[in-house]
């Protein structure tokens, strides 16, 4: 089987290694930018065609996020950003279902490899978002409040708990990135194994499941990142809630 954890290096540009996942990621970014630029080029009052679908995506995710954060301000700041990553991951996952892509080779190496099966990419994006979560924590709670969360000499128990807080932050990074990478890479491995057992017929039902999971996993990634950033907001004054949903919460009895 031609499967490795690390992506293959295709060529070097000025000493900088260009791997197959790298250029696929760049291509995906350009593709997404092009689609959105073309879609929003001539905005109409009554949306039609591409603009309609883009509005469905943006509006749908926005209202979903509004429900989850319960705060218009947080949604306004986070939504464009998290939606970008969500779209990059979802398109990166789904594009691997186009047949024939694994047949392309260059210098004996595969040109195409699903962008999300590269741990570097997933790790860096998760790292960026968790650094943002720390920054949010500092800006809302003050620098000393942030330090106090991790170093606490008031009692031995609090010291140990604060130490676990540090481990918790690192564990978040590992868990978010491992979860996504594990799913994406396992999909490739599963299909490769099934193609050996019974080509053409057996992989088909599994591809349906993988199609579902390749849509759900980016959503979970985006949702978790959103929850982490939201959790790191230290609210000195309670956030003014746009629509309070206490009346719609399940009745606890």
């Amino acid at each position: 089987m031609d499967l490795t954890i690390t992506p293959k290096i295709l060529t070097y540009i000025a000493g900088f290694p260009i791997t197959n996942t790298f250029w696929v990621t760049i291509l995906l970014s350009i593709l997404l930018i092009l689609v959105f630029v073309i879609g929003s080029h001539k905005m109409r009052e009554v949306p039609k065609g591409l603009q309609l679908w883009l509005e469905v995506i943006v509006g749908g995710t926005r209202s979903f996020m509004d429900d989850a954060t319960n705060s218009n301000k947080v949604t306004n700041r986070l939504h464009p950003w998290i939606l970008t990553i969500f779209l990059l991951f979802i398109v990166g996952n789904v594009i691997s279902f186009i047949p024939g892509l694994p047949a392309l080779t260059y210098n004996g190496e595969l040109i195409y490899r699903t962008a999300t099966t590269d741990y570097n990419m997933v790790f860096i994006i998760a790292l960026v978002f968790l650094i943002v979560a720390q920054a949010v924590s500092i800006t809302t709670g003050g620098f000393f409040g942030y330090i106090k969360k991790f170093i606490n000499f008031r009692s031995p128990l609090k010291f140990i708990l604060a130490f676990f807080e540090i481990i918790g932050e690192i564990a978040k990074l590992i868990s978010v990135s491992f979860r996504f990478f594990g799913n994406a890479f396992a999909a490739e491995v599963l299909l490769a194994v099934l193609f050996i057992i019974f080509p053409y017929i057996l992989p088909l039902p599994f591809m349906m499941i993988l199609l579902l999971s390749s849509v759900v996993q980016p959503a979970v990634f985006a949702l978790l990142i959103m929850v982490y950033i939201q959790m790191s907001i230290v609210d000195k004054e309670p956030i003014v809630e746009k629509n309070h949903r206490a009346d719609r919460m399940p009745d606890k009895k």
Binding site: S175, F185, A186, L223, P250
Partner: protein, 75 residues
């Protein structure tokens, strides 16, 4: 036992045992969420979102086992 055989067995054990916990946990999460949705259908949307996050968190130990197994196999 040579190294290759040991690696294959290790990957199998890692994945097999790693899948037990998440299996139980996700079933519990999904079952509870459905129970609540059945009792209170208007709250379905909020519960569905939270269920997905809870499932993803529950699943993570299984994914760690999977990544470890893959690292043993292909690393």
């Amino acid at each position: 036992m040579d190294v290759e055989a040991a690696r294959l067995i290790a990957a199998g054990i890692a994945m097999g045992f790693g899948a037990i916990g998440p299996g139980i946990g996700e079933g519990y999460v999904g079952g509870k969420a459905l129970e609540t949705m059945g009792r209170n259908p208007e709250a379905g949307n909020t519960i569905f979102t939270k269920m997905f996050v809870a499932m993803a968190v529950t699943e993570s130990t299984g994914i760690y086992a999977l990544v470890i197994a893959l690292l043993i196999l292909f690393g």
